[in-house]
Protein backbone atom coordinates (compact mmCIF):
# COMPACT_ATOMS: atom_id res chain seq x y z
CA UNK A 1 0.00 0.00 0.00
CA UNK A 2 1.44 3.34 -1.08
CA UNK A 3 0.05 6.28 0.76
CA UNK A 4 1.26 9.46 2.40
CA UNK A 5 0.28 8.29 5.87
CA UNK A 6 1.76 7.12 9.13
CA UNK A 7 -0.14 4.44 11.06
CA UNK A 8 -3.30 3.54 9.08
CA UNK A 9 -5.28 3.77 12.33
CA UNK A 10 -4.38 7.47 12.70
CA UNK A 11 -5.23 8.71 9.21
CA UNK A 12 -8.36 10.61 10.14
CA UNK A 13 -7.17 12.48 13.25
CA UNK A 14 -3.86 13.32 11.59
CA UNK A 15 -5.51 14.68 8.46
CA UNK A 16 -7.81 16.75 10.68
CA UNK A 17 -4.75 18.23 12.34
CA UNK A 18 -3.46 19.27 8.92
CA UNK A 19 -6.83 20.72 7.98
CA UNK A 20 -6.93 22.72 11.20
CA UNK A 21 -3.42 24.05 10.61
CA UNK A 22 -4.21 24.98 7.02
CA UNK A 23 -7.52 26.68 7.72
CA UNK A 24 -7.65 29.04 10.68
CA UNK A 25 -11.12 30.06 9.52
CA UNK A 26 -12.31 26.65 10.71
CA UNK A 27 -12.48 25.28 14.25
CA UNK A 28 -11.68 21.62 14.67
CA UNK A 29 -12.95 19.70 17.68
CA UNK A 30 -10.34 16.97 17.63
CA UNK A 31 -11.95 14.91 20.35
CA UNK A 32 -15.26 14.59 18.55
CA UNK A 33 -13.72 14.93 15.07
CA UNK A 34 -16.04 17.72 14.12
CA UNK A 35 -15.02 20.58 11.83
CA UNK A 36 -16.94 23.82 12.41
CA UNK A 37 -17.02 27.34 11.05
CA UNK A 38 -14.92 29.32 13.50
CA UNK A 39 -17.87 31.66 13.97
CA UNK A 40 -20.39 28.91 14.69
CA UNK A 41 -23.07 29.04 15.94
CA UNK A 42 -24.31 31.88 13.76
CA UNK A 43 -27.19 33.37 15.70
CA UNK A 44 -30.53 33.26 13.94
CA UNK A 45 -29.22 31.16 11.05
CA UNK A 46 -30.22 27.58 10.38
CA UNK A 47 -27.20 25.39 11.05
CA UNK A 48 -26.18 22.85 8.41
CA UNK A 49 -24.50 19.68 9.59
CA UNK A 50 -23.27 16.90 7.38
CA UNK A 51 -20.70 14.19 7.73
CA UNK A 52 -19.95 10.67 6.84
CA UNK A 53 -17.03 8.36 6.54
CA UNK A 54 -13.69 9.97 5.74
CA UNK A 55 -11.95 9.24 2.45
CA UNK A 56 -14.23 11.47 0.35
CA UNK A 57 -12.29 14.70 0.78
CA UNK A 58 -12.92 17.53 0.29
CA UNK A 59 -16.46 16.38 1.13
CA UNK A 60 -17.56 17.22 3.83
CA UNK A 61 -15.04 19.17 5.91
CA UNK A 62 -13.81 21.09 2.87
CA UNK A 63 -17.31 22.51 2.45
CA UNK A 64 -17.55 24.05 5.92
CA UNK A 65 -17.78 27.82 5.83
CA UNK A 66 -19.91 30.77 4.92
CA UNK A 67 -22.65 29.81 2.48
CA UNK A 68 -22.35 26.07 2.87
CA UNK A 69 -21.97 23.79 5.92
CA UNK A 70 -21.68 24.95 9.50
CA UNK A 71 -20.14 21.69 10.63
CA UNK A 72 -18.96 18.34 9.30
CA UNK A 73 -18.43 15.13 11.23
CA UNK A 74 -15.52 12.97 10.11
CA UNK A 75 -16.03 9.27 10.61
CA UNK A 76 -13.34 6.66 10.21
CA UNK A 77 -12.43 5.94 6.60
CA UNK A 78 -15.64 4.87 4.80
CA UNK A 79 -17.41 4.48 8.15
CA UNK A 80 -20.19 6.86 9.07
CA UNK A 81 -19.59 8.99 12.16
CA UNK A 82 -21.00 7.90 15.52
CA UNK A 83 -23.99 9.63 17.10
CA UNK A 84 -21.85 11.51 19.65
CA UNK A 85 -20.08 13.33 16.84
CA UNK A 86 -23.32 14.39 15.22
CA UNK A 87 -24.69 15.52 18.59
CA UNK A 88 -21.58 17.64 19.22
CA UNK A 89 -21.83 19.16 15.74
CA UNK A 90 -25.54 19.86 16.10
CA UNK A 91 -25.03 21.59 19.43
CA UNK A 92 -22.09 23.53 18.06
CA UNK A 93 -24.05 25.05 15.17
CA UNK A 94 -27.38 25.64 16.86
CA UNK A 95 -27.96 29.38 16.51
CA UNK A 96 -31.58 29.18 17.59
CA UNK A 97 -33.08 28.61 14.15
CA UNK A 98 -32.81 24.84 14.06
CA UNK A 99 -30.38 22.46 12.40
CA UNK A 100 -30.49 20.63 9.07
CA UNK A 101 -28.79 17.27 8.85
CA UNK A 102 -27.63 16.40 5.34
CA UNK A 103 -27.29 12.63 5.33
CA UNK A 104 -26.21 10.40 2.49
CA UNK A 105 -28.41 7.34 2.14
CA UNK A 106 -26.29 4.58 3.60
CA UNK A 107 -27.65 2.33 6.33
CA UNK A 108 -24.87 3.39 8.68
CA UNK A 109 -25.14 7.10 8.04
CA UNK A 110 -28.90 7.10 8.34
CA UNK A 111 -28.90 5.13 11.60
CA UNK A 112 -26.15 7.11 13.26
CA UNK A 113 -27.70 10.45 12.32
CA UNK A 114 -31.11 9.17 13.49
CA UNK A 115 -29.73 8.12 16.85
CA UNK A 116 -28.03 11.51 17.17
CA UNK A 117 -31.28 13.32 16.39
CA UNK A 118 -33.02 11.23 19.04
CA UNK A 119 -30.35 12.14 21.57
CA UNK A 120 -30.54 15.84 20.67
CA UNK A 121 -34.31 15.94 20.97
CA UNK A 122 -34.17 14.10 24.30
CA UNK A 123 -31.80 16.66 25.75
CA UNK A 124 -32.77 20.00 24.18
CA UNK A 125 -35.46 21.70 22.17
CA UNK A 126 -33.27 22.21 19.14
CA UNK A 127 -35.32 21.45 16.08
CA UNK A 128 -33.58 19.03 13.72
CA UNK A 129 -34.67 18.04 10.24
CA UNK A 130 -32.75 15.41 8.31
CA UNK A 131 -32.65 15.31 4.53
CA UNK A 132 -31.36 12.07 3.10
CA UNK A 133 -29.74 12.22 -0.35
CA UNK A 134 -30.23 9.25 -2.68
CA UNK A 135 -29.31 10.23 -6.21
CA UNK A 136 -27.32 7.29 -7.58
CA UNK A 137 -29.15 5.85 -10.58
CA UNK A 138 -26.78 2.88 -10.62
CA UNK A 139 -28.86 1.50 -7.78
CA UNK A 140 -32.45 0.50 -8.18
CA UNK A 141 -34.80 2.50 -6.02
CA UNK A 142 -37.00 0.00 -4.24
CA UNK A 143 -39.00 -0.17 -1.04
CA UNK A 144 -37.55 -3.58 -0.32
CA UNK A 145 -33.92 -2.59 -0.35
CA UNK A 146 -31.71 0.05 1.23
CA UNK A 147 -32.62 2.24 -1.76
CA UNK A 148 -30.29 4.38 -3.82
CA UNK A 149 -26.99 5.69 -2.53
CA UNK A 150 -26.39 9.34 -1.82
CA UNK A 151 -23.51 10.57 -3.97
CA UNK A 152 -22.74 13.69 -6.02
CA UNK A 153 -25.99 15.48 -5.35
CA UNK A 154 -24.90 15.78 -1.74
CA UNK A 155 -22.32 18.40 -2.73
CA UNK A 156 -25.00 20.36 -4.57
CA UNK A 157 -27.42 20.07 -1.63
CA UNK A 158 -24.77 21.41 0.70
CA UNK A 159 -24.08 24.38 -1.58
CA UNK A 160 -27.67 25.23 -2.35
CA UNK A 161 -29.26 24.63 1.05
CA UNK A 162 -26.23 26.35 2.57
CA UNK A 163 -26.94 29.43 0.47
CA UNK A 164 -30.61 29.32 1.49
CA UNK A 165 -29.62 29.17 5.16
CA UNK A 166 -27.18 32.04 4.66
CA UNK A 167 -30.10 34.12 3.35
CA UNK A 168 -31.72 33.69 6.74
CA UNK A 169 -34.51 31.43 5.61
CA UNK A 170 -36.29 29.26 8.17
CA UNK A 171 -35.47 25.61 8.73
CA UNK A 172 -38.46 24.25 6.86
CA UNK A 173 -37.59 26.25 3.76
CA UNK A 174 -33.93 25.32 3.89
CA UNK A 175 -34.96 21.68 4.21
CA UNK A 176 -37.29 22.10 1.25
CA UNK A 177 -34.46 23.39 -0.91
CA UNK A 178 -32.39 20.38 0.10
CA UNK A 179 -35.22 17.98 -0.70
CA UNK A 180 -35.91 19.63 -4.01
CA UNK A 181 -32.27 19.39 -5.04
CA UNK A 182 -32.20 15.74 -4.11
CA UNK A 183 -35.43 15.11 -5.97
CA UNK A 184 -34.23 16.74 -9.18
CA UNK A 185 -30.61 15.58 -9.17
CA UNK A 186 -29.20 12.24 -10.30
CA UNK A 187 -25.73 10.73 -10.51
CA UNK A 188 -23.80 7.84 -11.98
CA UNK A 189 -20.17 6.86 -11.42
CA UNK A 190 -17.44 4.62 -12.79
CA UNK A 191 -14.01 3.41 -11.73
CA UNK A 192 -10.87 2.59 -13.66
CA UNK A 193 -9.17 1.29 -10.53
CA UNK A 194 -10.14 0.27 -7.03
CA UNK A 195 -9.23 2.36 -4.04
CA UNK A 196 -7.23 1.01 -1.12
CA UNK A 197 -8.63 1.48 2.37
CA UNK A 198 -5.64 2.28 4.64
CA UNK A 199 -6.69 -0.15 7.36
CA UNK A 200 -7.29 -2.91 4.80
CA UNK A 201 -3.95 -2.33 3.11
CA UNK A 202 -4.88 -3.70 -0.30
CA UNK A 203 -7.24 -2.71 -3.11
CA UNK A 204 -10.88 -3.38 -2.26
CA UNK A 205 -11.39 -5.10 -5.57
CA UNK A 206 -9.15 -6.39 -8.34
CA UNK A 207 -9.71 -4.94 -11.75
CA UNK A 208 -7.79 -6.25 -14.76
CA UNK A 209 -5.87 -3.74 -16.83
CA UNK A 210 -8.44 -3.79 -19.61
CA UNK A 211 -11.63 -3.52 -17.58
CA UNK A 212 -13.54 -0.89 -15.68
CA UNK A 213 -16.47 -0.87 -13.25
CA UNK A 214 -19.66 0.99 -14.15
CA UNK A 215 -22.13 2.07 -11.48
CA UNK A 216 -19.76 2.31 -8.54
CA UNK A 217 -20.41 4.24 -5.37
CA UNK A 218 -17.88 6.22 -3.37
CA UNK A 219 -16.75 3.55 -0.92
CA UNK A 220 -14.73 1.34 -3.18
CA UNK A 221 -17.67 -0.99 -3.53
CA UNK A 222 -17.67 -2.75 -6.89
CA UNK A 223 -20.12 -1.39 -9.45
CA UNK A 224 -23.11 -2.87 -11.17
CA UNK A 225 -21.15 -4.31 -14.05
CA UNK A 226 -17.66 -4.77 -15.32
CA UNK A 227 -16.97 -3.91 -18.93
CA UNK A 228 -13.94 -3.44 -21.17
CA UNK A 229 -12.18 -0.10 -20.81
CA UNK A 230 -13.74 2.33 -23.30
CA UNK A 231 -12.92 5.77 -24.69
CA UNK A 232 -14.07 8.81 -22.69
CA UNK A 233 -16.71 9.41 -25.34
CA UNK A 234 -18.43 6.11 -24.59
CA UNK A 235 -17.94 6.42 -20.86
CA UNK A 236 -19.78 9.75 -20.96
CA UNK A 237 -22.70 8.01 -22.65
CA UNK A 238 -22.67 5.18 -20.11
CA UNK A 239 -22.93 7.72 -17.30
CA UNK A 240 -25.25 10.34 -18.74
CA UNK A 241 -27.81 8.14 -20.50
CA UNK A 242 -29.01 6.26 -17.39
CA UNK A 243 -29.44 9.61 -15.67
CA UNK A 244 -31.55 11.00 -18.50
CA UNK A 245 -33.53 7.77 -18.63
CA UNK A 246 -34.31 8.11 -14.93
CA UNK A 247 -35.26 11.77 -14.84
CA UNK A 248 -36.28 14.19 -17.57
CA UNK A 249 -33.66 16.93 -17.60
CA UNK A 250 -34.99 18.94 -20.51
CA UNK A 251 -37.04 22.07 -19.98
CA UNK A 252 -36.55 24.29 -16.97
CA UNK A 253 -33.51 26.50 -16.96
CA UNK A 254 -31.02 23.84 -17.96
CA UNK A 255 -28.96 21.71 -15.62
CA UNK A 256 -26.12 22.15 -13.21
CA UNK A 257 -23.62 19.63 -14.58
CA UNK A 258 -21.07 18.26 -12.16
CA UNK A 259 -18.18 16.09 -13.35
CA UNK A 260 -16.45 14.72 -10.31
CA UNK A 261 -13.11 12.97 -9.97
CA UNK A 262 -12.80 10.00 -7.64
CA UNK A 263 -9.45 11.02 -6.14
CA UNK A 264 -6.85 9.41 -8.37
CA UNK A 265 -7.94 11.03 -11.63
CA UNK A 266 -6.15 14.17 -12.79
CA UNK A 267 -7.96 17.37 -13.74
CA UNK A 268 -6.78 17.04 -17.36
CA UNK A 269 -8.94 13.95 -17.74
CA UNK A 270 -11.88 15.51 -15.93
CA UNK A 271 -11.97 18.44 -18.34
CA UNK A 272 -11.75 16.02 -21.23
CA UNK A 273 -14.67 14.06 -19.73
CA UNK A 274 -16.59 17.28 -19.27
CA UNK A 275 -16.27 18.00 -22.99
CA UNK A 276 -17.75 14.55 -23.69
CA UNK A 277 -20.57 15.07 -21.21
CA UNK A 278 -21.38 18.38 -22.89
CA UNK A 279 -21.54 16.57 -26.23
CA UNK A 280 -23.93 13.90 -24.92
CA UNK A 281 -26.17 16.52 -23.32
CA UNK A 282 -26.23 18.61 -26.47
CA UNK A 283 -27.37 15.63 -28.47
CA UNK A 284 -30.11 15.02 -25.90
CA UNK A 285 -31.24 18.64 -26.05
CA UNK A 286 -30.30 19.34 -22.45
CA UNK A 287 -28.89 22.81 -21.80
CA UNK A 288 -26.21 23.45 -19.21
CA UNK A 289 -26.71 26.46 -16.97
CA UNK A 290 -23.80 25.97 -14.59
CA UNK A 291 -21.05 23.43 -14.11
CA UNK A 292 -18.58 22.13 -11.60
CA UNK A 293 -15.54 20.12 -12.70
CA UNK A 294 -13.08 18.71 -10.20
CA UNK A 295 -12.51 16.18 -7.45
CA UNK A 296 -15.06 17.20 -4.84
CA UNK A 297 -16.37 13.87 -3.60
CA UNK A 298 -13.71 11.24 -3.77
CA UNK A 299 -13.17 7.63 -2.95
CA UNK A 300 -9.62 7.73 -1.59
CA UNK A 301 -7.21 7.07 -4.48
CA UNK A 302 -9.71 5.54 -6.87
CA UNK A 303 -9.31 6.52 -10.52
CA UNK A 304 -12.60 7.28 -12.15
CA UNK A 305 -15.35 9.83 -12.22
CA UNK A 306 -19.00 10.47 -11.68
CA UNK A 307 -21.50 12.69 -13.40
CA UNK A 308 -24.27 14.49 -11.52
CA UNK A 309 -27.01 16.43 -13.26
CA UNK A 310 -29.41 18.70 -11.43
CA UNK A 311 -32.42 20.20 -13.17
CA UNK A 312 -32.13 23.84 -12.25
CA UNK A 313 -34.55 26.69 -11.97
CA UNK A 314 -34.25 30.40 -11.27
CA UNK A 315 -34.10 29.95 -7.54
CA UNK A 316 -31.51 27.19 -7.60
CA UNK A 317 -29.32 29.17 -9.98
CA UNK A 318 -29.52 32.19 -7.71
CA UNK A 319 -28.52 30.03 -4.74
CA UNK A 320 -25.71 28.46 -6.80
CA UNK A 321 -24.30 31.87 -7.67
CA UNK A 322 -24.49 33.12 -4.07
CA UNK A 323 -21.13 33.67 -2.39
CA UNK A 324 -19.49 30.69 -0.75
CA UNK A 325 -16.29 30.63 1.22
CA UNK A 326 -15.03 27.22 2.17
CA UNK A 327 -11.63 25.57 1.76
CA UNK A 328 -12.67 23.73 -1.39
CA UNK A 329 -15.55 25.67 -2.92
CA UNK A 330 -15.22 29.40 -2.98
CA UNK A 331 -16.52 32.25 -5.00
CA UNK A 332 -17.82 35.73 -4.54
CA UNK A 333 -16.06 36.05 -1.19
Amino acid sequence: MKKLINDPADVVPEALRGLAAAHPELRVDHEDRVVLRADAPVQGKVGLVSGGGSGHEPMHAGFVGMGMLDAACAGEVFTSPVPDQVVAATRGVDGGAGVLHVVKNYTGDVMNFEMAAELVSAESDTEVIAVVTDDDVAVQDSLYTAGRRGVGVTVLVEKLAGAAAEEGRPLAEVADVAKRVNATGRSMGMALTSCTVPAAGRPTFDLPDDEMEIGIGIHGEPGRRRVPVAPAREIAEMLVEPILADLDMTGGDGVIAFVNGMGGTPLLELYLMYAEVVAVLEKAGVGIARNLVGSYMTSLDMAGCSVTLLRADDELLRLWDAPVRTPSLRWGA
Partner: protein, 215 residues
Protein backbone atom coordinates in the same frame (compact mmCIF):
# COMPACT_ATOMS: atom_id res chain seq x y z
CA UNK B 1 -22.81 -21.53 41.08
CA UNK B 2 -24.02 -18.40 39.26
CA UNK B 3 -24.30 -19.16 35.57
CA UNK B 4 -24.88 -15.80 33.92
CA UNK B 5 -23.13 -13.23 36.05
CA UNK B 6 -21.08 -10.15 35.17
CA UNK B 7 -17.88 -12.21 35.02
CA UNK B 8 -19.41 -14.71 32.62
CA UNK B 9 -20.67 -12.02 30.28
CA UNK B 10 -17.37 -10.19 30.49
CA UNK B 11 -15.70 -13.44 29.48
CA UNK B 12 -18.10 -13.69 26.55
CA UNK B 13 -17.33 -10.15 25.45
CA UNK B 14 -13.59 -10.79 25.75
CA UNK B 15 -13.84 -13.96 23.73
CA UNK B 16 -15.86 -12.16 21.04
CA UNK B 17 -13.26 -9.38 20.98
CA UNK B 18 -10.50 -11.96 20.68
CA UNK B 19 -12.19 -13.72 17.77
CA UNK B 20 -12.94 -10.46 15.98
CA UNK B 21 -9.35 -9.33 16.35
CA UNK B 22 -8.09 -12.68 15.13
CA UNK B 23 -10.45 -12.67 12.13
CA UNK B 24 -10.27 -8.97 11.43
CA UNK B 25 -8.72 -9.47 8.01
CA UNK B 26 -11.18 -12.18 7.06
CA UNK B 27 -14.10 -9.94 7.97
CA UNK B 28 -12.60 -7.06 6.01
CA UNK B 29 -12.04 -9.29 3.03
CA UNK B 30 -15.64 -10.43 3.08
CA UNK B 31 -16.62 -6.75 3.23
CA UNK B 32 -14.27 -5.98 0.32
CA UNK B 33 -16.15 -8.34 -1.94
CA UNK B 34 -19.60 -6.84 -1.39
CA UNK B 35 -19.05 -3.77 0.77
CA UNK B 36 -16.45 -1.20 1.65
CA UNK B 37 -13.66 -3.16 3.28
CA UNK B 38 -14.09 -1.87 6.82
CA UNK B 39 -16.14 -4.38 8.78
CA UNK B 40 -13.10 -6.01 10.40
CA UNK B 41 -11.54 -2.70 11.36
CA UNK B 42 -14.88 -1.36 12.59
CA UNK B 43 -15.70 -4.23 14.93
CA UNK B 44 -12.13 -4.67 16.08
CA UNK B 45 -11.97 -1.01 17.05
CA UNK B 46 -15.31 -1.27 18.87
CA UNK B 47 -14.67 -4.51 20.70
CA UNK B 48 -11.17 -3.45 21.77
CA UNK B 49 -12.80 -0.35 23.26
CA UNK B 50 -15.54 -2.44 24.86
CA UNK B 51 -13.05 -4.71 26.62
CA UNK B 52 -11.13 -1.65 27.78
CA UNK B 53 -14.33 -0.09 29.12
CA UNK B 54 -15.20 -3.27 31.05
CA UNK B 55 -11.70 -3.28 32.51
CA UNK B 56 -11.80 0.38 33.42
CA UNK B 57 -15.10 0.02 35.27
CA UNK B 58 -15.87 -3.61 36.04
CA UNK B 59 -19.65 -4.00 35.90
CA UNK B 60 -21.64 -4.83 39.03
CA UNK B 61 -24.19 -7.03 37.35
CA UNK B 62 -24.60 -8.83 34.04
CA UNK B 63 -26.94 -6.25 32.52
CA UNK B 64 -24.43 -3.51 33.29
CA UNK B 65 -21.78 -5.47 31.41
CA UNK B 66 -23.96 -5.61 28.30
CA UNK B 67 -24.89 -1.96 28.61
CA UNK B 68 -21.25 -0.91 28.76
CA UNK B 69 -20.59 -2.87 25.58
CA UNK B 70 -23.62 -1.26 23.91
CA UNK B 71 -22.68 2.34 24.67
CA UNK B 72 -19.05 1.73 23.78
CA UNK B 73 -19.94 0.23 20.42
CA UNK B 74 -22.33 3.09 19.65
CA UNK B 75 -19.60 5.60 20.55
CA UNK B 76 -16.74 3.98 18.68
CA UNK B 77 -17.85 1.90 15.71
CA UNK B 78 -20.02 4.00 13.41
CA UNK B 79 -21.10 2.57 10.06
CA UNK B 80 -23.99 0.14 9.94
CA UNK B 81 -22.58 -2.37 12.38
CA UNK B 82 -22.03 0.16 15.18
CA UNK B 83 -25.65 1.13 15.75
CA UNK B 84 -26.80 -2.43 15.01
CA UNK B 85 -24.49 -4.27 17.40
CA UNK B 86 -24.93 -1.38 19.84
CA UNK B 87 -28.69 -1.79 19.71
CA UNK B 88 -28.30 -5.54 20.05
CA UNK B 89 -26.40 -5.21 23.32
CA UNK B 90 -28.57 -2.34 24.57
CA UNK B 91 -31.81 -4.26 24.12
CA UNK B 92 -30.25 -7.41 25.50
CA UNK B 93 -29.11 -5.49 28.57
CA UNK B 94 -32.60 -4.09 29.06
CA UNK B 95 -34.20 -7.51 28.76
CA UNK B 96 -31.71 -9.44 30.86
CA UNK B 97 -33.36 -10.48 34.09
CA UNK B 98 -31.38 -13.34 35.62
CA UNK B 99 -33.32 -13.32 38.92
CA UNK B 100 -32.01 -15.46 41.78
CA UNK B 101 -32.50 -18.95 40.45
CA UNK B 102 -29.43 -20.14 38.48
CA UNK B 103 -31.50 -22.76 36.70
CA UNK B 104 -33.37 -19.92 35.01
CA UNK B 105 -30.23 -18.23 33.75
CA UNK B 106 -30.27 -20.03 30.46
CA UNK B 107 -33.75 -18.90 29.63
CA UNK B 108 -32.97 -15.37 30.83
CA UNK B 109 -30.01 -15.24 28.48
CA UNK B 110 -32.11 -16.60 25.63
CA UNK B 111 -34.72 -13.91 26.23
CA UNK B 112 -32.02 -11.23 26.24
CA UNK B 113 -30.53 -12.46 22.96
CA UNK B 114 -33.99 -12.56 21.41
CA UNK B 115 -34.59 -8.97 22.57
CA UNK B 116 -31.28 -7.94 21.07
CA UNK B 117 -32.18 -9.65 17.82
CA UNK B 118 -35.54 -7.88 17.74
CA UNK B 119 -33.72 -4.62 18.40
CA UNK B 120 -31.54 -5.13 15.34
CA UNK B 121 -34.66 -5.73 13.26
CA UNK B 122 -36.27 -2.58 14.62
CA UNK B 123 -33.19 -0.45 14.04
CA UNK B 124 -32.17 -1.78 10.65
CA UNK B 125 -35.60 -2.61 9.21
CA UNK B 126 -34.24 -5.73 7.56
CA UNK B 127 -35.67 -9.21 7.54
CA UNK B 128 -34.14 -12.63 7.58
CA UNK B 129 -33.05 -13.51 4.09
CA UNK B 130 -31.88 -9.97 3.32
CA UNK B 131 -28.28 -11.20 3.66
CA UNK B 132 -27.40 -9.46 6.91
CA UNK B 133 -26.30 -10.33 10.41
CA UNK B 134 -29.92 -11.27 11.06
CA UNK B 135 -29.35 -14.42 9.05
CA UNK B 136 -26.91 -15.64 11.69
CA UNK B 137 -28.55 -14.11 14.77
CA UNK B 138 -32.06 -15.34 13.96
CA UNK B 139 -31.27 -19.03 13.57
CA UNK B 140 -29.08 -18.82 16.67
CA UNK B 141 -31.93 -17.45 18.80
CA UNK B 142 -34.29 -20.08 17.44
CA UNK B 143 -31.89 -22.94 18.06
CA UNK B 144 -31.08 -21.67 21.55
CA UNK B 145 -34.76 -21.40 22.48
CA UNK B 146 -35.56 -24.81 21.07
CA UNK B 147 -32.69 -26.53 22.84
CA UNK B 148 -33.64 -25.01 26.18
CA UNK B 149 -37.27 -25.88 25.62
CA UNK B 150 -36.15 -29.43 24.94
CA UNK B 151 -34.48 -29.43 28.36
CA UNK B 152 -30.92 -29.20 27.08
CA UNK B 153 -28.27 -27.76 29.38
CA UNK B 154 -26.96 -24.22 28.74
CA UNK B 155 -23.69 -25.58 27.35
CA UNK B 156 -25.37 -27.75 24.85
CA UNK B 157 -27.98 -25.17 23.96
CA UNK B 158 -25.31 -22.55 23.25
CA UNK B 159 -23.46 -25.10 21.18
CA UNK B 160 -26.60 -25.61 19.13
CA UNK B 161 -27.01 -21.85 18.79
CA UNK B 162 -23.42 -21.43 17.58
CA UNK B 163 -23.94 -24.24 15.11
CA UNK B 164 -27.12 -22.61 13.82
CA UNK B 165 -25.40 -19.23 13.54
CA UNK B 166 -22.60 -20.74 11.49
CA UNK B 167 -25.10 -22.45 9.21
CA UNK B 168 -27.03 -19.22 8.89
CA UNK B 169 -23.83 -17.41 7.96
CA UNK B 170 -23.02 -20.00 5.31
CA UNK B 171 -26.54 -19.78 3.98
CA UNK B 172 -26.05 -16.08 3.17
CA UNK B 173 -23.68 -16.99 0.36
CA UNK B 174 -26.19 -17.50 -2.46
CA UNK B 175 -28.49 -14.71 -1.32
CA UNK B 176 -28.97 -11.41 -3.15
CA UNK B 177 -28.59 -8.64 -0.58
CA UNK B 178 -31.56 -6.39 -0.03
CA UNK B 179 -30.27 -4.32 2.86
CA UNK B 180 -26.98 -2.65 3.74
CA UNK B 181 -24.20 -1.75 1.41
CA UNK B 182 -24.18 -5.09 -0.38
CA UNK B 183 -27.65 -4.34 -1.76
CA UNK B 184 -26.08 -1.79 -4.16
CA UNK B 185 -24.47 -4.68 -5.97
CA UNK B 186 -27.79 -6.26 -6.85
CA UNK B 187 -27.23 -9.72 -8.30
CA UNK B 188 -23.47 -9.37 -8.01
CA UNK B 189 -23.88 -9.70 -4.23
CA UNK B 190 -24.72 -13.39 -4.64
CA UNK B 191 -21.85 -15.81 -4.20
CA UNK B 192 -20.32 -14.13 -1.17
CA UNK B 193 -20.80 -14.56 2.58
CA UNK B 194 -22.22 -11.54 4.37
CA UNK B 195 -19.56 -9.99 6.61
CA UNK B 196 -22.05 -9.07 9.34
CA UNK B 197 -23.43 -12.60 9.40
CA UNK B 198 -19.84 -13.82 9.76
CA UNK B 199 -19.18 -11.56 12.74
CA UNK B 200 -22.54 -12.45 14.29
CA UNK B 201 -21.59 -16.12 14.06
CA UNK B 202 -18.43 -15.26 15.99
CA UNK B 203 -20.55 -13.54 18.64
CA UNK B 204 -22.56 -16.71 19.24
CA UNK B 205 -19.49 -18.92 19.02
CA UNK B 206 -17.87 -16.73 21.67
CA UNK B 207 -20.85 -17.22 23.95
CA UNK B 208 -20.63 -20.97 23.58
CA UNK B 209 -16.92 -20.98 24.33
CA UNK B 210 -16.93 -18.47 27.18
CA UNK B 211 -19.94 -19.88 28.98
CA UNK B 212 -18.91 -23.52 28.54
CA UNK B 213 -18.95 -25.48 31.76
CA UNK B 214 -21.32 -23.06 33.42
CA UNK B 215 -24.47 -25.11 33.14
Amino acid sequence: MTVVDAAALTAWVREFARLVHEQRDTLTQLDSAIGDADHGANLDRGMTAAVAALEATPPDDPAAALKTVATTLIKTVGGASGPLYGTFFLRAAGALDVGTDPTHHGRALAAALRAGYDGVIARGKAERGDKTMLDALGPACDAFDEALAAGKALDEALGAAAEAAAQGRDATEPLIARKGRASYLGERSAGHLDPGAASAALLVEAAATALAGRG
